[in-house]
Amino acid sequence: MSSGVDVNLENIWIKFGDFVAVREANVNIKGGDFFSFLGPSGCGKTTILRAVSGFLNPSEGRVLIGGKDMAGLGPNKRPTALIFQNLALFPLMKIWENITFSMEVAGASAVERRKRADELLDMIALPGQGDKFPSELSGGQKQRVAIARALCAEPDVLLLDEPLSALDLKLRQHMRTELREIQQRVGITFIYITHDQGEALTMSDSVAVMRAGVIDQIGDGHAVYDTPATPFVASFVGENNVFRGKVSAINGDEATITSNRSGELLSKITPTAVGKMKVGDDAMMFVRPEMLQMGEGDAKSTISAKVLNEEFEGNTYSIYLEGEGGKQIKMAMPNLGNDPHKAKGDMVSFNYNANNAVVMPAGDLASE
């Protein structure tokens, strides 16, 4: 199978009438990468994918696949295959005919197609099921047929539009690993769309986080999770505690903010904002629940609060706290066999390592 080719989006704008669905998207995807677009519903993920696969033309900008400008090429002329949000298996064709549809339209003989279908059915662990109809398969099986059908076209780039969203949790987790394995086996570029951050982080080499038509940040899972570029990314990817305030001191890549309700707090400045913040700016500081621990620490990274509630979640305890002025804070502690067991209403102190907190200019948060 062909090895992966690069996909580049250069300054893409996509408008529907006056409505701007995608704004100034610049994305460079390395050949053979598993690349994800992550964002809430309606942020323009499908729209970008449709521009890559050729179902719509960007109002501005260029789509390059393998360095070639795709302008004016229809979906049937592009080296891409799209797995649709609803799979779009052909209901009147048998599974093997579905899988080898791309060969049929290219004029391959039935014998050839049947042989290829059997190979692919083996690969997706559905041997001998070729003569069924799509309606006779389970959700997960249909999923795999859709993947096989796309792979049969031998695309250079496989585009996947939330293919797992219709599956239940167990199957979804299973399919994640399976997809990742398939991708590594065939070695082609995967562009994957999801609004599930867990999916994006576990599978991707790179993630683009989108918000209302704008790409906020592109990076690997760590970059997106540990050093979010905007408050939106910080609050959309994983859970986060946010502290609002004003910058009171800056020291290289560290800054101190005077928070509205929790006093002076020290943290790293997120890499993209280093050098762009000044004393007195509105700022937001984020620290993840699992980065908090009980006990007093440095004065500028210790907060005291009242215990509201404690929840046991198997591998972790979630402790909900209320700081000064009703400030809600969540803390997560690994279950190490010793229940922290704080009584409701207790006053506790907890702290964080300033290296594990990020501050950035204030902005919009992801709505809950």
Binding site: N76, F84, F90, V105
Partner: protein, 420 residues
């Protein structure tokens, strides 16, 4: 309370009886007339059981020609209206979201326009087109005009069928096909068309039936190619015989056969899909299905009829019947002659014959007691019918205001008299 319920049930039963009698009665009566040897479609009096009208039917050049034209027009209309309807429905559901309702109104309008108007306008329009091009022969051809005229509104019916089906089509399937490298033509042929196949079949049947039975549009456009409906209506004007009933029997049989076969097929598919369970205690091919049983019964009936038709001959019966009728006629004539003689004798005895009335026939003088003079005197009518008018007969005393105008025996007598 109980009696109320009982009453309700009875009322419902009676209602259904009347309703189905109303629906099916005429068909049954017509069907029976096809097997009666009487020369006018009738069941009373029953003369002789016969198949001769079927033979008659297949000897009638005009009917056969009408059937042929109807089929030609039918197939032409099916092809034209299904294609137009399909194209129109595709345009409606896939393109031009803004103009959809306007477009829909325009395309649906022919259904609301009277067929007569469509017929006339088709005729006028193509004549103009033909004239302006210096006389193009095929544009004035009856088949061409009839197919175009009928398709004008039948295509709209087809479109409605297609739109209903298309609404359930996922356009994502076409996109998926394109994405997998299919050209637009391939995507249409391999994805959309197979999906539309059941709708195309129903639309084709619908179009054919609508075309086959159409009269009011065709009557303006048929030119020198009269279809079956046109032929039938012309025949009614010049007198009909039961071969028309025979044709009706054949058409009804084919229709019922088709409907039953379809039902059986559908049941079997459902059974295969496990949607219904086979009934116990019956051979598996029957599946306890009424449609199947009826289908089998009907096949046997048809086979039985075809085989008896080879050997059975109603000649003896017909001869007997004719003899009986001749006898009856003779008796009637004698009775009338006696009556006339008696009347004449009476008139002579009264000596009331005046000079100015002398030009009139004496018999009419005799009948002057009736308000209409002797116009309805049986002998006159007998003669009139004998001359081939076939209007009415009044040998027996008229019991209803129409006399026995519709009593076929009279006609029978009439033609019998003329034949003698």
């Amino acid at each position: 309370m109980k009696s109320n319920i009982l009453f309700g049930r009875i009322a419902l039963g009676v209602y259904f009886l009347i309703f189905f009698g109303y629906l099916i009665g005429p068909l049954v009566v017509m069907g029976l007339t096809a097997f009666n040897s009487a020369a006018f479609p009738s069941i009373t009096p029953w003369q002789c059981f016969t198949y001769e009208w079927f033979g008659e039917l297949f000897k009638d050049e005009r009917i056969l020609n009408g059937i042929k034209n109807s089929f030609i027009v039918g197939f032409g209309t099916v092809i034209l209206s299904v294609s137009i309807g399909l194209a129109a429905s595709l345009v409606l559901t896939q393109v031009w979201a803004k103009w959809r309702s306007t477009y829909y109104t325009i395309i649906i309008a022919p259904i609301l326009i009277p067929g007569v108007v469509i017929g006339i306008s088709t005729l006028v329009f193509w004549r103009k087109v033909s004239d302006s091009l210096g006389g193009v022969a095929f544009m004035n051809n009856g088949l061409f005009l009839t197919i175009l005229g009928q398709s004008t509104f039948i295509a709209s019916y087809c479109m409605l069928v297609f739109v209903a089906r298309l609404q359930r089509f996922d356009p994502g399937l076409t996109e998926a096909a394109l994405d997998l490298g299919a050209s637009h033509t391939q995507a249409f042929r391999k994805i959309l068309l197979p999906f539309m196949r059941p709708a195309i079949a129903s639309a084709a049947v619908l179009a054919f039936l609508a075309s086959f039975e159409n009269y009011n549009t065709t009557t303006f456009t048929f030119g020198s190619y009269p279809t079956l409906t046109i032929e039938l209506s012309q025949m009614v004007r010049y007198g009909i015989n039961p071969s028309i009933s025979a044709l009706a029997v054949i058409i009804v049989a084919i229709t019922v056969f088709g409907a039953l076969a379809l039902e059986v097929y559908r049941r079997r598919t459902k059974l295969k899909a496990g949607e219904i369970k086979p009934a116990k205690g019956l051979p598996s091919w029957l599946y306890g299905n009424i449609a199947t049983i009826l289908l089998v019964l009907m096949s046997f009936t048809v086979i039985g009829m075809l085989s008896t038709a080879q050997s059975y001959s109603p000649q003896q019966c017909k001869a007997d019947f004719r003899e009986a009728r001749d006898l009856e006629t003779r008796l009637k004539i004698e009775a009338l002659q006696a009556a006339r003689a008696a009347a004449l004798a009476e008139a002579a005895a009264n000596g009331e014959a005046t000079e100015d009335a002398g030009t009139d026939a004496p018999a009419e003088q005799g009948g002057s007691s009736g308000a209409f003079g002797g116009v309805f005197a049986p002998t006159n009518l007998e003669d009139a019918a004998g001359q081939g008018d076939g209007a009415s007969g009044g040998a027996a005393a008229p019991a209803s205001p129409f006399g026995n105008v519709f009593d076929p025996t009279n006609l029978e007598d009439a033609s019998g008299t003329s034949g003698n």
